[in-house]
Each structure stands twice: as structure tokens, then as C-alpha cells.
Subunit: 294 residues, 6 copies
Amino acid sequence: MGQAAGLPPFMLLDPMLRDWLAEDLGRGDRATQALLSFGSASDSVGSDWVTGVFRLKQPGVVAGLPLAARVFALLDDQVVFSPRVQEGETCEAQTVIAEIQGSMAAILMGERVALNLLMRLSGVATLTHCYVLRLAGFSTQLADTRKTTPGLRVLEKYATRLGGGCNHRFGLDDAVMLKDNHIVAAGGIGAAIACARQSMPFPLALEVETETLAQVQECLEYPVDIIMLDNMPLDILKAAVKLIRERRPTTKIEASGNITLDTLGSVAETGVDYISTSAPITQAPWLDISLRLT
Amino acid sequence: MGQAAGLPPFMLLDPMLRDWLAEDLGRGDRATQALLSFGSASDSVGSDWVTGVFRLKQPGVVAGLPLAARVFALLDDQVVFSPRVQEGETCEAQTVIAEIQGSMAAILMGERVALNLLMRLSGVATLTHCYVLRLAGFSTQLADTRKTTPGLRVLEKYATRLGGGCNHRFGLDDAVMLKDNHIVAAGGIGAAIACARQSMPFPLALEVETETLAQVQECLEYPVDIIMLDNMPLDILKAAVKLIRERRPTTKIEASGNITLDTLGSVAETGVDYISTSAPITQAPWLDISLRLT
Amino acid sequence: MGQAAGLPPFMLLDPMLRDWLAEDLGRGDRATQALLSFGSASDSVGSDWVTGVFRLKQPGVVAGLPLAARVFALLDDQVVFSPRVQEGETCEAQTVIAEIQGSMAAILMGERVALNLLMRLSGVATLTHCYVLRLAGFSTQLADTRKTTPGLRVLEKYATRLGGGCNHRFGLDDAVMLKDNHIVAAGGIGAAIACARQSMPFPLALEVETETLAQVQECLEYPVDIIMLDNMPLDILKAAVKLIRERRPTTKIEASGNITLDTLGSVAETGVDYISTSAPITQAPWLDISLRLT
Amino acid sequence: MGQAAGLPPFMLLDPMLRDWLAEDLGRGDRATQALLSFGSASDSVGSDWVTGVFRLKQPGVVAGLPLAARVFALLDDQVVFSPRVQEGETCEAQTVIAEIQGSMAAILMGERVALNLLMRLSGVATLTHCYVLRLAGFSTQLADTRKTTPGLRVLEKYATRLGGGCNHRFGLDDAVMLKDNHIVAAGGIGAAIACARQSMPFPLALEVETETLAQVQECLEYPVDIIMLDNMPLDILKAAVKLIRERRPTTKIEASGNITLDTLGSVAETGVDYISTSAPITQAPWLDISLRLT
Amino acid sequence: MGQAAGLPPFMLLDPMLRDWLAEDLGRGDRATQALLSFGSASDSVGSDWVTGVFRLKQPGVVAGLPLAARVFALLDDQVVFSPRVQEGETCEAQTVIAEIQGSMAAILMGERVALNLLMRLSGVATLTHCYVLRLAGFSTQLADTRKTTPGLRVLEKYATRLGGGCNHRFGLDDAVMLKDNHIVAAGGIGAAIACARQSMPFPLALEVETETLAQVQECLEYPVDIIMLDNMPLDILKAAVKLIRERRPTTKIEASGNITLDTLGSVAETGVDYISTSAPITQAPWLDISLRLT
Amino acid sequence: MGQAAGLPPFMLLDPMLRDWLAEDLGRGDRATQALLSFGSASDSVGSDWVTGVFRLKQPGVVAGLPLAARVFALLDDQVVFSPRVQEGETCEAQTVIAEIQGSMAAILMGERVALNLLMRLSGVATLTHCYVLRLAGFSTQLADTRKTTPGLRVLEKYATRLGGGCNHRFGLDDAVMLKDNHIVAAGGIGAAIACARQSMPFPLALEVETETLAQVQECLEYPVDIIMLDNMPLDILKAAVKLIRERRPTTKIEASGNITLDTLGSVAETGVDYISTSAPITQAPWLDISLRLT
């Protein structure tokens, strides 16, 4: 298996997974090494075959199954990891989400990293899903931000999609967002846009952050792909959306700033295309998942 | 500066910090590159000097200041990052925790990674601190677990200490914990201990996980450094502590399993030395912190 | 210096520059090591200070000066590399483009890598500039492709900009281009677009490759950001541009396929926004540049 | 397959190939991820099997087939890449040089890197072959230089051999070439040679660069393995060869400097053993090769 | 095979083994590449199958067989490496310790690294075994130190265990040893212990280095896990052991400093738990082992 | 300082030095972190300045001073390491070879790695020097082999030179040595040589291993750069040297196999150019060196 749906090819993910295993293993699993060297005349880790069950302890959206599978495969390609639910599926507490068979050594060495990934990503997918449910019936989409755990951005944004959200840019290179400081530095919004357009790859989108109607209006003088309406009161937000739709109907509109589960619906009612919020990633508790060997 | 108090030397941390910057930068910050190539005849990033303020938006324990400083230093060693509070200090909302001066390019490129680290680690330190406050007056200490975000273990455990907790082992190599599966595999608790002692470095501690009084009793036949009492009801817990103190007064006792803020006190009352729980790390929301350039 | 205008920060470039120095050094420069250990009682490489001059042997556009400077700095931060022309400047043959001072050891060890970069990148910038000159008077811009030397994409695309061209996407992740195979796999152009929109980050552009007017027409049923007209005869090209401008005036139009210096003008006359061609990168001879020590 | 003829083992090449794939993939192929997650309930990339044909669009010498095969194998070991010509074979335009079968995802993700390698290396082999043909009938061999694309030296020098040339040294460590600056630094040619011999590994060759007959004569006082005659007019070159053959018949003679296709023959007539020139690498246009999926 | 008994999983060892192969291969094995490209029309390294025998030239303890097997597997997974003795077995001179079959290319490329590992590790295991034999009949165990060859610590400590010794800590992080300088810096032994306990993970052992009886006595005021008696004359050593056993019967006692084969027995007679010495690692000559191809 | 005499530039050595520090530090020096976080209100490691003295405990040749200096510099560039003897100097026991000043933290963290390098390399230089002294008065030089500690080849070969020896090839790529198996594989010595010459870089030396006079004789039919006489009895050795000198006076002659301190002189008397032996590297005990802080 070279790639799982929705994920980069494992060639790109393996170095991270190996680093995370190494973080937990340090100079090696003393317990496993001890039991192996003690228990048998065999040099093989396969001598002690066990099976186990991954079980959800809370209801939620399951995320990370292909990564858990890969964690064990990197330690020992004889391990068989069998998902019992779909990746991204919403499951009840106590659901068996996967079964595993393999050498006890490989399973005990990979257990913690696999569970940490499953629990963290399922936590993000589950909280995202809560937010997305509040947008049912609206055409507005929930988007994430660049507030992601260092080192986990690709995976947390993948969990966002599994939870029903859509992704904003992945980094400073795949879209240009002009903020206040850029605009001041360039000497005005028109100058900043002109300067950005001049050097950025032509397919990239250019987004401008605005906080007032006046800024929105100025923005509309120029061909901007996305206008972000940051921290605006609801009535201003509505007025801004109206203004933009009239003047630049193909421009995408993003609302941002202090979004909560409670305010999601009223912001969506303004007709913005996207509501971006970091909460489903930064506020998500891990979803509890256990592995029992049998 | 080669090392900050309580942290490994930067020689060990820099590769991670660089990876995290690279994750955000991708092929480079298009906006910064554009404004730089547009705005001036100079090749230098120093031409556009700005200052900024890091401000807490919620009350909490601040963690990660030396890391934030280093993030900017890796991009441009001319940046001056000046903490305004102590690392680990409990602060009110709106506290200015640090000031920064430097080229706009370096500050905008490092901003997101620095904030993500500060917010995540301060979140962990803050929640840990809540737990630790419940143990005031007890000799029991709060300990963390190996449930940590992949790639962040050293830093999240550092935040645990800043919040007043103590660290359990950092990985599978710096203490041996014998669980049920090990014991079954070795053919009994005595055999498992003998086999572990035979191959593990002699200074390492050996811990055994127990779930019943009978297991505790069996355990006491052997020289075990730490006995973990897992998921025991309070009365069993008390009995186990009594048993151990009588037979093996120097053995450390750790309680674990389903610990909540509400149950902490009653578990501590049993007299265990350590209560270990993953909650301060796995349930911690990020602490909100902003950077405003001026 | 943390970053040069138009380039990613050196934190991202240094690993490549170090790899390239290591490629040339292997296990070390035997000649330098020999002369150093022979010539003096000093352990220092600074004992033998020399100066040198980088000179263009052919007319062309100079590209790579900040990289050459960095190559020497990585070997010895005492080396002073002083550009004598602007990065991206068009110069006559025999122009002195930079001067250098430093230890002979550092200069001889960095010489080949620095020159190879300067010669390759200046070659690309120079040929790009030839193409761009043919587009003078048109609003059409010259764009590059993903046909770049493995490992040099960021730098060759930087040279493209120095030569006056603009960049197409940098990789498979910063814009989505749907080709015939994608469309067949998804079961039609509409399905392919829907499916791509569903999982790609919302700011990314979606481009569709077309080879016939019928395909262009089908494309116009959907919100596509960029339409590529591939290998079309001039009259078809004109018709396609007309069609698109009428139906989707904000859609960007890119012409591609078998572009030569001779056909550039007539393709530009059709009014397309971009002409993309790999030739300025794949057909560029290196520009001859010498370093003489004095 | 651990190694292909004439190439280092893949263990050494794989890190480069992975870097080059990562350069193109960035954070993942958005189109492939989208189509995979949309089209099917399966997690496997193998669900969409395609076949394709690599075809030469120009006549030339084919180079890079084992590398192209490896590129796809690194993404997905189920891909079958079947060369249809010999590596190094001279082929007509339109020749099918290889066929491929595998998942569409793996083929589309590897396509660009595989083609870029094939086109660049075949370009070098083809131009080298042109030069080598001019030396038919002479005992003189064509040699390359250290003017190679940063990061590609081993592969471009491999392409040189496929085109019929021979390799000069691969870096600063596998032969010692004393240039003017070394000689001045050591205080004369004899001192420089003595000092180099003293610290270099004894099997390495020592080469001295000369520009005048006087320098050649001085050189002949010492045991030099290779004498380079740099930029000499033809009559001086002839005189130098005669001088060396008389005094040091086992010394190898290399001519260098401003070699063109037109001057190759007359230089070879002087009887030198090697003519070294960077042109087949620095002036080679890429050979056009296409991949069509069917 | 994911792991061999007593060793970390190969996932952790492979990067080191690859580095060591790369150190020997440099830019590739010229001889192998030459013979491969000459001898046959095949691209495969499997065309030239050979077999070979690893033979001990001196009596000793064999260590490193799983590592030698892995070295060849990394080059070519078709190579079959078959141990003929147990890892850690004491063998006579001329014993065939392993046989190998595979392509000549892979075997010749891996030969030197495999032999260097086998010879070095067997040398360490053999000398350790000599030391351990002197402790027969005593309960004292032989321990190693942190004086290990840079880069080989995990493997040399593994060889120590194969020779019958036990391991002291693996690094500065898996036990805390307080030395004179720490104690002075903290302002006394009690302060140093308190400060260490406060920040170190609670399962880690704390060891204090003492050189006099007075220091031992002071040490006994505090809960120290291990007391090291450094460089003490035999009578002082005996007195120190008596003192410790009386006051702190569960404290481990380690003797260290100027241990030789001759003094081992008399030190053991004092009743210390561990004698630590670097000699079996720093003084071990390599054990001679040959590989003959047949 | 970018490079020390006789060593590759630090740019190449730093990754190894960092790996070796990381091997010892693991997740950080617990003792240093504890004392730092306890002792002072300052975040700086510079608060506790100490000085120390490196002292030889045995007579020998000192090797590794620039590496020891670099180890500390990588941890903290404020550390001042001052050599008190020349690198490569032969010193008496008790000689102070270097002094150091800096923060206690940096010195304690770098101490072990610096000492391990100094002790190992000085051990090699010292034993090499013993061998070289036996060759006084002969023109024969002592050469090393590829039997070096994995990962330390460049440094152990550097120590060889400091001890007065000369280096044989550094790896499989910087000279070609044809052994029996190569010759059989190619179908004879002539075929093997022809085939090697055809693909190897032309400046590289070609060496052939011989074990009998007949093989030497066959060898002389071809232009071989170095002939190795392996394991020959003294009279055969003498005959072989005579044969070679007559027929191929510029061919270098290397004797190898079972060389001991006692036989060195008699082998040298045969007039061979080089005697190669692994003993000074594989049999060298570490030279004892201490660091005392004051």
C-alpha cells in the first residue's frame, strides 16, 4: 500500500512516523528486549504471536486508522492490522474499530504511538464534526486555520476533512494572505496587491484581511480572490457580504474571529462562503481509545 | 545561549524547531518574498524593522518562552525577543508576556510556529496546574504518562513540570513497566522480573502494573521499585497502600486510571506517592495568546 | 542575513547548499588539507588570505549571487563576498559581477559549487529573458512548468522570475490541474471538478487541461479558475479565447505546447493571459562565469 | 533489485530520489488525493490500474531507465516499469523506450520526476555521444569535469559514460589537482607536490595544471601522474605532448579549455590521452520524452 | 525480521547501518560497477551468485551476527546470511560462524562493514567475558561505563551483555549521577539531591559519586539509589560497604576506578553489587574474523 | 574556524559530532537541567563558569584536539578550549594537553564525547607511531586499511597520519582493488583490468591483489598502478619486488598480511613501498586522558 485515500503517499509520512516511534522507543524497549532475550532460543520476534482489539471508549468520529496500520508495519511487516469501521465513520462508544495480530514485541512497541495518533486525530475529527453539524442547511463551509500542533499540520487538516470541514491553506506558500502589516509596509492595499501579484506563482489565490467596511470597500477596487472579514459584528458582516456580492460576485468570502459553536449559525446566515476557526483543532480533547491484547 | 533551564540543549531542539518552521513555510513565505522584492533596492531583510507584543488573552501558566525566542533566532539572529514574565509564571488575562523587535520578514515567518508552541505548551501547563492545586496539602505528586502528542513529548513533559507536575518515564527505554502481557509471556511475575533484571541497565527502575490485591501481594515477593495500582476502587487502593508500606517501605506507589479533577483528592488521601494521569496533556485546550505588531 | 529578496529563508536553503558542497568535497579537499598541514604551524585556515574576481564571460542576466555568497559563508563565515552588480541585472561580457576575499581554503572548497549555481541559474535567467523580450507590448506573461532539474525547482523558478517570467505552480500540492486521465477516472469533467473541490484546500486554484474547443465548452459549464489550451492551432486558440472571455471573463487562460521563440508572438496575439513553456529551463545552456584569484 | 549496472546501489540513490519526489509532491498530490477519496469505498490506490508508454520525441541516447523504474517503485512497489530499449542505446524519434503499468495514483505522482530525470540524463548522454563521435579513430578519450548540476554529479557522470565519455574525478577528494594558487601558496611546484604527497592517500593520482611549456618542463622534474595542458594553442600543445612523452612516458596527458565540437579533432591529433570539457553537461538541452497513459 | 533479541528494532538501527555502508561506498563501489557493466547484458546484480564463509581466526565470544545479516539485507534483500553459531557463543578458532549466499556485488559491497562490526563487537564481548570469568562465585556484577566509541554505544553495550556484563546507564538522561562539581554547584549534597529529585522523572535512579568515607556518611543522610565508591583503597571500600549495608540496606553499591583483571576479585570480595570499568570496551582488540568466497 | 589542518571542513564533521553528542545526551542531561532550574533565577547557562584541565595519564601521541574543541563549541559557543600541546605531538604522562573555560552545563554535557574522541584517536595515533618507528631508516611507508570502526573512518585515518602513517584508500570509490573474486568473475586478470578501466574515472588507481609469483607475473602484462603482495613469505616477497622493479619501475608495491611489530623491519627490507596493516587501528587501546574541573 503506497497511499491511503486523502493522505499523502506513505513515502512522505514514513519519516514522521519513524521519528514518533523513535521518540517513544529511545534506545529501545527494555521490556521487550528483556523478554525476547530471556524467553526463547529463537532470534525471531514472531515467536510470540498475540491478537488485540482497538475499542472506542467514547462516541466520536474515527480518524487515523491507516496511520495506525502503518506504525505497526514500520516495526514489523508481519503485523496484520484490520480496521473494522470506515475511516471517518461516526461510531458509538465501545465500538471495536480495529483488530490486530502480530508479534507481541511489535505490538507493544507500536501501541503507544498508534493510540496517540488515533486519539488525537479522532478528537479533532469529532469536534470538527460538532461544528459542521451546526452548519447543516447552510451553504457555508467550516474551514480550519494554521493554528495546528507543530509537526501535525497535514494530519490534523486531514482529520478536519474527515470531520466534514474544509481546509484553508497549508502554509505560507500555497496562498497569499495580506494582513495589515503587509499593507502598511507596501504603502497601501493597491501597492501590496500589485507587489504580491508580481512575484507569486500565478495560480495562487490572494486573500486580504479586512476589519472594517472601509477596508472592504478599498479591497473591492482590486482583483482579490478571497476577502476575509475578521472579527466583524454581525450587522457589519452582513453589509460587507452584500457589498462584495454586488461588486465582485466571484470573490470568495471568509468570516473569522471568535467563532463559537453558539455563534456559528448566525454567522452562516450572513451568507459568507467560509467560516474559519481554529477551535476544532486547538480545543479538541483526545477521544479515548484502548487496545486490549487477548 | 546554548540551553534554557529545564530544557535539553538547543542543539537537540533545533532540528525539531526547523522542521516545524519548514512545515509552515513550505517553499517559502510568498507574501514576505513579494514585499521584500518589491519594496526596496536592498537585499537585506533588516530594512523593515518592526516591534510587537505577545499578550495573554486568558489567564494561565505561561510555557514556551525560550522556544519562541529560538524560533525567531533560527530565522534571523538579529531578532530580539524579550520575555516580560517568568517562564512558568501564572498570569492574568491581557498580560504582556514578551516583546519582540526585528525585521518584519523574520517575525511574520516565525509568528505562527512561535504562537502555536506557546499556546499549546501554556495550555498544558495551565491544566496541569489546576490538577496540582487539588493536591495541595498532600504529599502525593501528580505525574504524567506516555500519552503525549507525537513529536512533542519532551516539550509537553516540560510544560507538565512548569505546571507543577512531575514526569513519569520519557519512553520505553528509561524505566521498565511490566504489564499483564509481559507477565503472561514470561510465565509469571517472578519470571518476568528476573528476566527483565537480567538484561536491563542496572540503574533503571522496574515497575509492575497491578489491578487486584492478589497481584499486589504477589508483587511484594520480589524487589520491585514501583508498584502501579491501576483502576482500583478507593477501598482496595487503601488496602494496597497499607500492604505495600508494611512489606516494602521504600517501594514507590503510583495510582492510575480514570483520574479526574474531582477524584484527585480522595485518591491522594490513600497515601499513594504518585497519581498519574494523561488528562492535563490530552484534555488541555490551547491558551489563547496573540501577537500584535506595532 | 536570514533571507535574500525573492528567495526562501536560508534556513530552508542551507541543507541543499550543504548537500551540494558535500557532493563536491566527498571526504574532504585533499589539496587544501595538504597545503594547510604543510605550509604553516598554524591550525587556522585564515593564514592564507586571498582575493578573487567573478567575471562574466558572455553577456547575460546574472542570477544566484546571494546563493554564491551563502556557499562560502557555510564553509567559513570570515569570507567576504561582495556583489558588484544587481541580482537579475543584464550585463555585458567581461563584467565583474562580484569580488571575494577570504582564506584560500574556503574559497577553493566553495568555488566549484558557487560557480555551478551561478552559471546554471544565470543560464536560465538569460534564456527566459530572451523569451520575455518577445512578449514586449503584449499583456501575455511567460510562465514556467514543472519540467525543472530534480532538486533545483525553487532556484530555477527563482531564476525564471529574475529573467522576467512568472511562475506556474511549484508542485502537485499548490494548485490542482485536471488532465485527461483524471477526468476519465472521475467519469467526466463535472464529476472530476466536484470531487477535486470537495477535498482540496479552498484557496487553491483548479485548472483544467483542454485540447479541443468541445472540451473548452464543456469546461465552461463549471467554475474553473484556469483553463489550459494545450497544443491548439492558432485559429482554434483564438476561438477558444473568445469563447472563454464571453462566458467566464474572470477565468485565466493559459496556452501551452510546442512554444518556440518564433511562435511566441503569434500565440500572444490571441490574447491568452499566460504562455507556459519549459524551454527556458530545459534548453538553457549555462552562462560562462569565471573566478580568478589574485 | 539492489543495484543497476554502472550505478551506485539504490541504498545510496534512494534518499535523492525521495527528495526529488518530495520536491514535486510538497504536501501531497491534491488531484490524486481528491480522486481517490471521491471515487471509491476502497482505501487502496490499486483500484485504478492504468498502463502507459514512454516515447522518445527526438532521436538520442537513452539514459535513466533504472532511475525512472526506481522512482515509481518508491511510491508503490506494485508498479511494473518495463524498459523496451537498452540503457545507453541510441534510438530514433518515436521509439517506445519503456512501458508502465500500475495504479493511476502512483504513476501520476511519479511521472514528472521520472521524466525530468530521463530527459535531463538522456540530453547529457546524447550530446556527449556527439562529441565522442568526433573522436572516432583517435585513441584520445573524452572526459567530463566538475561542472555538473548541483546534486546530480553522480548521475550526470553516469550519463557521460553512457554517451561514450569517461569520467574525470568525482570530487575534491578522489584525486588532487594542483592549480596555480596551490603552487604559489606552497612556494613552487616541487614544494606543492611534496606537500600534497605527504598527506594524501597514496593511491590517489596527483595532477598538475599547466598553461605554458615552461610550466610543463618544470612539472617533468617531479613524479606527476597527470599533466593538464590548459588552454594551449595547438602548436604549443603538440610541443608539450612531445616533451612529456619523451621524459615521462607513463604520465597521462589531459587537454582542456575552450574545446568545441569543431576543435575536438585537431586537439586529438596532438596525441593527448584525454580531452576534458564541460560542454556535454553544461550545454546539453533536455531530450524530449513523453508519457502517455492508455 | 523487525528486531533481534537484545537489540533495538531495526527501524532504529538501519540509519546507522546505512551511514556505515555509505562511509565505505562513498560514491559507489567502482570495481563492482565496472564488473557489472562489463560482464553481462543484464541489469540485475543477481547474475553472479556466490557463497562464502565467515570464520573465526581466534577463539572468542561471537557478537554481531544479526547486524551482519542486516548489512547485507540493506544492500540486497536476496542475500541469505545463515549463522552457524549462537549469538554470544564462545567459539574456538577456525569456527565457521556464518555462511552467506547472494550476488557477488552485494556481498563485496557489504563485506567490510559487516566484518568490521563483527570483529569490533566480538572483541568487546570476548574481553568482557574474560573479566566476568574472574567474578565467578561472587554476587558482584561487572558493569560498563559511558566510555564507548562515539556512535557505537548501543552496540558496544549490547556486546557487553553478550560477554556476561551488565549495563550502566546509556546516557545522561536515564539516571542521574551527581559528581563533585554538581554538589559544589548546588551548595552541598543535600541541596544537590533535592534539586535533582525536583526536576528528574520520578522513576529514574539517583547515584552519588563518593571518594571518602566522610562523603559516604553524608550521603547516607539522604535517599540515594546508588552510591558509587570511586577509587577507594580496599580497606576503605570494605568500611564503606559495611556502613551502607547497615544504614541503607536497599541502596546499590558500585565500585569504580582503576579496575584491572588482577584486582577484580579482591574488589568483589568487599561485597559491592557492581564493579564498573571501561576496560572491556576501551582496551579490547578486535577479534579476527575472515570472509572467504567460494 | 571553518577547518582544522588535515581534517575535512567542520561543515562535514558537525553532523557526526552532533550525532555523538545526541547519543550521550538522549533526551537531555537530567543533572544539568536540574541544577540549572534549581540553582538560580537566571535562564542562562553562563551563570556557572568553571575551568578545567585535560591531562594525559599515559605517554602517547595526542590526537583530536580540534574535535574536542568543536564538541564544546556546538553546545555553547562561549566555551573557550585552549590546546596546550600541538596536535600530533608526542607527550609524557601527566602532560596538560588542553585547558577549558565555560559554563559548567556545556562542559559537563560535552565532557564524555570529547574525552572519548581524544582517547580513541590518541590511542590510534600512539600505536601507529610505535609501528612507524620500526620503519625508521627504510623508505617503506606504513599504510592503514579499510578495517576501521564504523562511522570513524575519516577520523581514524587522520589519527594514522598524525602517528606518522600514510593512508590507503578511504572507500570503495577512490581506488579500485581487484581481488581474486573479481578476476574470476571477469574471466582473467586482463579482462578484469580492461573492464575496470573502461568504467572507472581515469585518474583513479587500479591495484591488483596477488598471492603468488605467478600472479605477479601475469599482472605485469598489464598497466597496473599498484600491486599488492598478500601474505607472501619473505623470499617470495623479495623475488616479487625484484620482478616488478625490473618490468614496471613506476608501479607501486604494497605488502600486506599478518604484519606485526616484529616482522615490520624484515618486510621493509624487501624494498616494498608500503606495508599495510590494520593493527594500529584494530589493536589500539585507548590512551587514558582525564578532565578535572577546578
